[in-house]
Symmetry: C2
Amino acid sequence: METALRALSDPGRRRILTLVRDEEHSAGEIAAEFTVSWPAVSQHLRVLKEAGLVTERREGTRRLYRARPEGLDDVRAFLDEFWDDKLKRLKREVERG
Amino acid sequence: METALRALSDPGRRRILTLVRDEEHSAGEIAAEFTVSWPAVSQHLRVLKEAGLVTERREGTRRLYRARPEGLDDVRAFLDEFWDDKLKRLKREVERG
DNA sequence: GACTTAAGAAAGGATCTGCTTAAATAGGTC
DNA sequence: GACCTATTTAAGCAGATCCTTTCTTAAGTC
């Protein structure tokens, strides 16, 4: 969860993530969407992969990336717990007036 | 959302956040839970405040902090959208076999 | 095998982060 | 006003981050 949150904290990586959310894309296709250099995108992809937020598949000379939403499970769990507990707290407050 | 995600990416700040989730706590009470120095905690509180994840209230010489779950709304929206769209994609895949 | 294409690895630099200690502010108490 | 307590601000430092350019690897084409 640590690495996932840090990976998400970069806008470029979030953009990559939405790019590969619905379908696989090669590193080159992804890089073409950005103005930063190609290695920079490659580095972002590595961060996302290490955080478990994308999967990599090799096909010939290309590497195809796809989002891996399960990688967000921990983060979602944390936020949901936070949210739920807050609601519970509010409920208690309302009940005691 | 940018700042919220960066604020969340630090384990110490997440711990602070859960500390002030259910009730207000003073900066000193919070700092007492940590081994790092007092100013370090103060800096974390500032980051959390600027990210909209906590509110600050002054009472005499003390400053009381409390979680502000609405600050997580953007993050939650992003994750939910991501999740939902993934489910939709899977559904399409299943439907076309 | 030489050449091209797709992509990652290495090295280096600027900026950001998170910590520390020391100093400043600001509200109570005498 | 002098003094204590609670807390933030300032300054500085080590390490992380994100970018760049250059170099390497690996697969396909001739």
